[in-house]
């Protein structure tokens, strides 16, 4: 999926819902499953990835005419590794508690397929501004889905909401949801729900646009519709 865009803001919006990294593109599944044992962890992981994604997208897009095609993958990985090391160091210094929980997965942002996929299919083809927008869009979409999954697993598995105890859940919490098995299960079911809800909404929007588009731009179709409308009214009149 290689894409070039003209509109600067378009990648920002499409990255969040339409090309949602987790539920639609199914990229970056390792951190999605591993760190979403609570909503807060998901949020931090998403933000860390967003930061790396925005920075690496910007740099790779600036270097897109300099990097030779044959050695592009090592170059991209080097850029991404630099930023993920920065994130790791900053987190260790300022958020040691979160750093301990995520540990290994902060270093593993390097091999998160979202980053390489966006470098390959977007920022190596587009100017800086759209690339940054794409980074923000995809990153926020990733953050959103990670936080959502974290919240669901936390609520069902530990009976808490962002760390706050939910009283009525304490007696019926199911620990399996914060174990690995529950991670897979929640991910699968949330993917279905996401596609169900977002798919329906997108279909409605598409139908709406389609109808109005024709009504405005195609006079012939408009005339035909008017004619049908008139016929229907006439037949109703006939019934009377």
């Amino acid at each position: 999926m290689r894409q070039k865009v003209k509109d600067t803001l378009e990648p920002l919006t499409s990255g969040i819902i339409k090309d949602n990294a987790t539920f639609r593109l199914v990229l970056g599944t390792c951190p999605t499953l591993a760190v979403t044992t609570s909503g807060l962890n998901g949020l931090y992981m998403g933000l860390a990835t967003t930061f790396v994604l925005v920075c690496s997208n910007a740099i790779i897009s600036l270097l897109r005419k300099i990097i030779p095609r044959k050695v592009r993958i090592p170059c991209y990985i080097l850029v991404i590794a630099t930023f993920s090391t920065i994130v790791e160091m900053v987190m260790r210094k300022f958020l040691p508690a979160i750093y301990d929980v995520m540990g290994l997965f902060l270093s593993l942002i390097v091999v998160n397929c979202i980053l390489l996929a966006r470098a390959e299919s977007f920022s190596s083809l587009n100017p800086v501004l759209p690339s940054v927008m794409d980074g923000i869009g995809i990153g926020l979409g990733f953050t959103m889905s990670l936080t959502l999954m974290g919240l669901v697993r936390e609520f069902l598995g530990a009976g808490t909401f962002f760390g706050l105890v939910v009283p009525f859940m304490q007696n019926i919490k199911m620990t399996v949801f914060i174990l690995p098995a529950g991670g897979f299960m929640v991910f699968g079911i949330m993917m279905v729900l996401y596609n169900l809800v977002v798919g329906e909404i997108e279909k409605k929007i598409h139908d709406y646009k389609h109808r109005h588009y024709h009504a405005i731009t195609n006079p012939l179709l408009k005339a035909q519709e008017d004619e049908e409308q008139a016929k229907r009214e006439a037949s109703m009149g006939g019934d009377k």
Binding site: L33, I73, P74, L104, C113, P180, G183, F184, M185, I189
Partner: protein
């Protein structure tokens, strides 16, 4: 010797790379459509993880001696990327049959987080004191990955014939199947030591 056995059982069953540590999920979901390809991927992963464990462990000694551990991620990922290229060239030259068997899976392993994961784990969490242990841990983790991906591929082959709700086709039902396998593997947690 007992330590080696514990290490192997731990890497394969108790802390299975895919099903309890969540490393290497991308190929786990992506290349598990058929058992043949799953086996090919698994073999390639075992091979690369074994070699990468040894080389990164040795390199880490140099990094620690020079006091630049913070460069670990960058150095490791570069070494792994180069290593995979090298392995591909060598295998192509000296063992064409193995090359045709591993084929397209070798380059794919670069972004398999299991390889970088085991390399980092060897030098941080596990604190293996011996380069041999690092090698054994790498190979055993690869075997764990192979077992998991083979089981899933077997299930997916059967699932082709099953009557699945439209919305669940593809990834979602695979994830649910993986969840059930993970539940089974969670039982090995009783072996933890």
């Amino acid at each position: 010797m007992p330590y080696v056995i514990l290490l192997v059982i731990n890497a394969i069953f108790v802390n299975n790379f895919v099903l309890s540590r969540f490393l290497g999920i991308c190929p786990f979901l992506g290349v598990s459509r058929k058992t043949d390809t799953a086996l090919g991927m698994g073999m390639a992963v075992i091979f690369v993880m074994g070699v990468a464990s040894v080389i990164t462990y040795a390199l880490d000694l140099v990094l620690v001696a020079a006091g630049i551990e913070y460069l670990r991620t960058i150095v490791f990922i570069l070494v792994i990327a180069c290593l995979i290229q090298l392995v591909e060239i060598f295998v192509k030259k000296f063992s064409p049959s193995l090359y045709s068997a591993l084929g397209v899976y070798l380059p794919l392993i670069t972004t398999n987080c299991a390889v970088l994961g085991v390399a980092i784990m060897n030098v941080t969490e596990l604190a293996t004191t011996n380069i041999l242990y690092a090698f054994i841990n790498g190979v055993a983790s690869g075997v764990g990955f192979t077992i998991a991906i083979l089981i899933l591929a077997g299930i997916r082959e059967k699932m082709e014939l099953a009557d699945i709700p439209e919305r669940f086709k593809g990834f979602p039902i695979t994830l649910v199947a993986a969840s059930l396998i993970a539940m089974g593997f969670a039982a090995f947690g009783g072996l933890s030591f």
